[in-house]
Subunit: 210 residues, 2 copies
């Protein structure tokens, strides 16, 4: 095996290091975050840091980098307290990737990247109409990470739209039916195949396929 210690990693050339550290933790959730400012200028940004926080109340979190193109997302969430999380499908992954370009804040990534916004009454953040899972959240908590300039956003789920076939009998949302894809690092996109669903694990009980 190759070995790197902390100072080996610090000494890596910057782009090499960014690729290296961003791909260390494996596959990542891939979503488009929709927001608007107080004058309804839309923003759409690709994120690979959404994580589960709790099921009751239903909450999701995500990490926002300090100076990236997703900075507009943070500003909009702070001012409107609203955002959407939308899954990425293979048929529009290039459009989703293009939202990471540094557009001016007055420009809508929906328009520039050929994706359609969808609005519902009483909620200012735009959903991605092409997504098969669309989640609307209100801001619950803003957590600055002291160690760098990164911010964690926690949102409470207010609205969920799903294509009908995705929901299974036990509440599981099948990501293959949803045609959700995943990513690794900054620019690699993957489609997935089910290996198996496994039974609930208990000590001294053999795991079964579901």
């Amino acid at each position: 095996m190759i070995y790197y210690n902390h100072s080996d990693i610090s000494s890596l050339e910057q782009r090499f290091r960014t690729n290296f550290v961003n791909s260390l933790s494996g596959f990542r959730s891939l979503n488009l975050i929709g927001t608007a400012d107080l004058t309804n200028n839309e923003n759409l940004a690709i994120f690979n840091s959404v994580f589960h926080v709790g099921a009751n109340p239903a909450m999701l979190g995500m990490v926002i980098r300090p100076n990236g193109p997703e900075h507009g997302t943070l500003k909009n969430i702070i001012s409107t307290k609203s955002f959407t999380i939308n899954n990425v499908l293979k048929q529009f992954y290039k459009n989703a990737h293009q939202t990471s370009a540094r557009y001016e804040s007055s420009i809508s990534e929906f328009t520039k990247c050929n994706l359609n916004s969808k609005y519902i009454d009483g909620f200012c953040a735009p959903f991605v109409a092409e997504s098969s899972i669309q989640i609307g959240l209100i801001l619950q908590e803003i957590i600055p990470i002291k160690a760098n300039e990164t911010t964690i956003i926690i949102g409470t789920i207010q609205h969920v739209f799903l294509n009908d076939l995705i929901l299974k009998e036990d509440g599981f949302l099948d990501p293959m039916t949803a045609e959700t894809i995943t990513n690794c690092g900054l620019d690699a996109y993957y489609q997935c195949d089910l290996i198996a669903r496994l039974s609930y694990a208990k000590p001294d009980l053999e795991i079964k396929l579901k």
Copy 2:
């Protein structure tokens, strides 16, 4: 599309809701977290909440639920300030899933789940010998989420072990060469196929395949 609002989700039967909310955000990073207590009792727990925090200094974060079997992980990290993050391969995903059973704290999940621990000098947390990406971290920050009893742990990367072929020329760690798998929800495991790597996105420039 089917629609659920906040109170629809709250009213769902508990297990159904847990499956539903846990699979909402799509595919998740899948890792085994290795720790030990001050008397070297080992602990190994499966996590699907590891996220990227920063590349320089290199930091990763993860979410720890309040009363789950991963509670031993949190206690050990607080007392020893050390933990490891190890990728999950298809050949041992059932063993990895079995670590989620509620074993007594004196029992090593390495032993019970047939995985081998690996130690290095000056670092008390065990790595998973079978993993092709093994990361050793020291505790950087503990962040309690106010909205529920969840805790976010931020760690700084100290040690990285990699199988030689995983590292590509530009620093990218190829998860398919690593044989890393992913998961969705609580119990569904997936293998992935590359769709494409894409060029850096800029306004008014067409994206190319890498």
